[in-house]
Amino acid sequence: MIDLPAAGSAVALLAGSLDAWIWVIPGLLIGLVFGALPGVSVSMAMALVLPATLYMDFLPAIIFLTSVYTGAGFGGSVPAVLMGIPGTSSAVATTFDGYPMARAGRHNEALGAALFASCLGVLASYAVLFVLVQPLAELVLMIGPYEMFAIAVWGMVLLGSLGGTSISRGLFASAIGVLIGTVGMNTAGYMRGTMGIPWLLDGVPTIPAMVGLLAASQLFGLVNATFLVESEQDRKISLGRILAGCALVFRYPGVLLRGSIIGAMVGAIPGVGSSIANLLSYAETRRTAKDGASFGTGNPKGVIASESANSSSEGGAMATMLALGIPGGGATAILLAAFAMHNVVGGPRFIDQNRDIVYAIILSNFAQAVLLVFVGTAFVFAASTIVRLPLRILIPCVLVVATMGAFAIEGSAAGPITLYVFAVLGWLLSRFGYPVAAVVVGLLLGRLIETELLRAYQMAGGDWREILNHPGALVIFALMVLSLGFSMWKDRRRRLGDAASA
C-alpha cells in the first residue's frame, strides 16, 4: 500500500528543504521541557509556538510542530519516573513501576527504558502509518459506543484491584474513583455532585487529582526520609546505566510490540485514546507476564509497556487527523490549524492529493524518533540530578511546581484546590492499605464507562438485542472472558503445582 513514486518525491522534498531540519532539535527540546512540567500540556506548547510557524514554509512549520509533539510525548515520563508525577494522563501507567524503580535507585535504568521504548514506539507507529494510514483511520472510525464500552470495561477489570492489601479495599478504592469520575455534567446533560461550584460542571479536574493522589500524597510521607534514593552509591547519574536501561527494551520485544500496537490502535481513538492506551498496555503486560506479581514494585516491563503505548498513540492520532481531518485532541487540532494557516485543508482529499507531503511528514518523524534518543538522553541526564537533592529541599520544590502545574491546566485555583484535596485523600488511603492507583484508574475510566454505557443504552432504546448489531464489542467481551478464564486456570494450576511440590 506504499505509493513508491510519492515516497520518492517525499525524500526529495525533505532533502531539498534542509532548512526544515534545523527546527527538529529546538522542537524536541521545547516539547521535552513542556512535557516534563506537570500541567503544561502538549497542546499548550503547540498553541504557543503556532504563531511563530506562520512565517515558515509549510514543511518546516509542520516538522517543527510535530517535533514539539514528539518531544512532549516523552517529556511526561521524566517526572513520572523520578517523582511519581504523571504530567499527563497518558503517563499514569509509567508511574506504577517507574517510580518504584527510581526509589530503589534504578532511575537511570527506568529512564533509559522509558526513552528507548518511547522512541521505538514512535518509530513503530509511524511505520504502521506509512503502510496503513487509510485502513488504520477507517478502523478507528468503526469504534462506537459498544466497542468503546467493552475496551473501557476491559481496562477496569484488569486494573480495578491494582495492588492493595485486600480485594474489598481494592474494589472500594476503584468504586470511589469511578464515582468521583462521574461528577459534573454527564453525556446526557445531567449535572450532579457539583455542590454549586461552577468549575465542577466539567468534572473533577483529572490531572491535579491524579498528581495529588499519586505524588503529593507520597511526598507527605517522605518528610521523615532524607533522600529519594536511600543508598548513596545509587544516587549517581550514569550514562552507562541509562544505556543499560535502553538495552532492557530489547530484552522484551513482545512487550514493546504489544504496547505499540495497542497505542497505535486505541491511541488513535479521538478524545480518549492516549490516556487509556497506556493503561491497557500495562494491564495486558501484567496479566500475561510470568512475574505479574512484581508489577507495581519496579518491574521495567511495566515502564516499557506504558511508554511504548503512549508514544505510539502519536502516530495513531496523526492517522485520524491526516486521513479523516478529525483532530483526536488539542495537539492534532493545532496541527490542523497549522495546515489551515498554509491553506492546506486536512481530511480525505488531502491524503489523496498530497501523498508526498504525508510521506514527508511520516519520514521526518522517523528522523525525530532517532534524534530523540540523543536529545532525550541528554535531557534525562540533566533531569535526574534531582535525585541527588536531599528530600528536605526537594519536597517543597516539587509541591510548588506541582501546584503551579495544577494551576496551569485551566488557569484557576480549581487545580491547586483539587490537588490538595486529593493529596490528603491519597495520603490517608495509602496509610490504611488502599491502592491509590485504583482510585486513579477509576477516575480515568469511570467517566468513559458511564458515557459509553449511556450511549449504548440510548442506542438500544430498551431493546437489549441491539448489542447483536455490534459484533466488534461481542468479540472484545468474548476475548476478555476467555483470557481472564485462561489466566485463572493457569493461576490455579500454578498454585496446585506449588502445593504438590511443597
Binding site: 513542556f34 512540567l37 503544561v40 499548550m44 506548547a45 498553541a47 492493595g164 492489601t165 485486600s166 474489598s168 479495599r169 474494589l171 472500594f172 468504586a175 470511589i176 469511578v178 464515582l179 462521574t182 446526557a188 445531567y190 449535572m191 450532579r192 455532585g193 507527605f220 510521607g221 518528610v223 521523615n224 528530600l391 528536605r392 529541599i393 519536597i395 517543597p396 520544590c397 509541591l399 510548588v400 511546581v401 501546584t403 503551579m404 494551576f407 496551569a408 485551566e410 488557569g411 485555583a413 491547586p416 490537588l419 490538595y420 493529596a423 490528603v424 495520603w427 490517608l428 495509602s430 496509610r431 490504611f432 492499605g433 469511570g446 464507562i449 458511564e450 454505557l453 443504552y457 440510548q458
Partner: protein
C-alpha cells in the same frame, strides 16, 4: 488519630471508610434530586450501592480489629512533621489567590524547608526567593492565563 493499642477497634480506618461511604451516599442523594431518569442514574446508582456494600464489609473488619495493611505506626515527632507539612501545604493553597502565587510560594518553601529540618540561615533566606522567582517567571512565560502575583 489512632487509639491506644489495647482498644481493638481500628477507629482511624473506620472513620475514613465511613466518611467516604457517607460522601458517596450524599452524592447519590444529590444526583437523585436532579433527576430519577435512567440517563442520570444508570451507572451512578449501582456504583454508589456497591460502595455501601463494600463499606459494610470493611467496617465489620475494622470493628473486629483488623489492622492488616496499615502503615507502621510512627513516633510522635515523625507524625507531627507530616501533619505540619500537610497543614502548611493547605495554608499555601488557601493563600494563593489571596496574597498572590509568588508570596504564598515563597512563604511555603521557607516554612517547608524548616519543617524538613533545614537549619542553615543562608539557605532559608536565599534559596526560597530565588527558586520561587524562577518558577513563577518560567510559568508566566509558558501559560496563556493571567496569574495573580503580588510582586513578580
Amino acid at each position: 488519630m489512632e487509639p491506644s493499642a489495647e482498644r481493638r477497634i481500628a477507629w482511624g480506618h473506620l472513620a475514613l471508610v465511613t466518611a467516604l461511604a457517607a460522601a458517596a451516599v450524599a452524592y447519590l442523594i444529590d444526583a437523585r434530586g436532579v433527576s430519577l431518569h435512567p440517563h442520570n442514574l444508570l451507572f451512578l446508582q449501582p456504583t454508589a450501592v456497591l460502595v455501601v456494600v463494600l463499606w459494610a464489609i470493611i467496617a465489620l473488619a475494622c470493628l473486629r480489629g483488623d489492622r492488616s495493611g496499615e502503615a507502621p505506626a510512627q513516633t510522635w515527632p515523625e507524625r507531627l512533621k507530616v501533619l505540619a507539612l500537610v497543614g502548611t501545604f493547605g495554608l499555601f493553597i488557601l493563600g494563593l489567590e489571596r496574597i498572590g502565587y509568588d508570596i504564598a510560594a515563597w512563604a511555603f518553601v521557607t516554612v517547608a524547608l524548616a519543617i524538613g529540618g533545614e537549619r542553615r540561615p543562608l539557605m532559608l533566606a536565599l534559596f526560597p526567593p530565588v527558586f520561587v522567582a524562577a518558577v513563577i517567571v518560567a510559568f508566566k512565560a509558558m501559560i496563556p492565563y493571567p496569574l495573580v502575583t503580588a510582586i513578580l
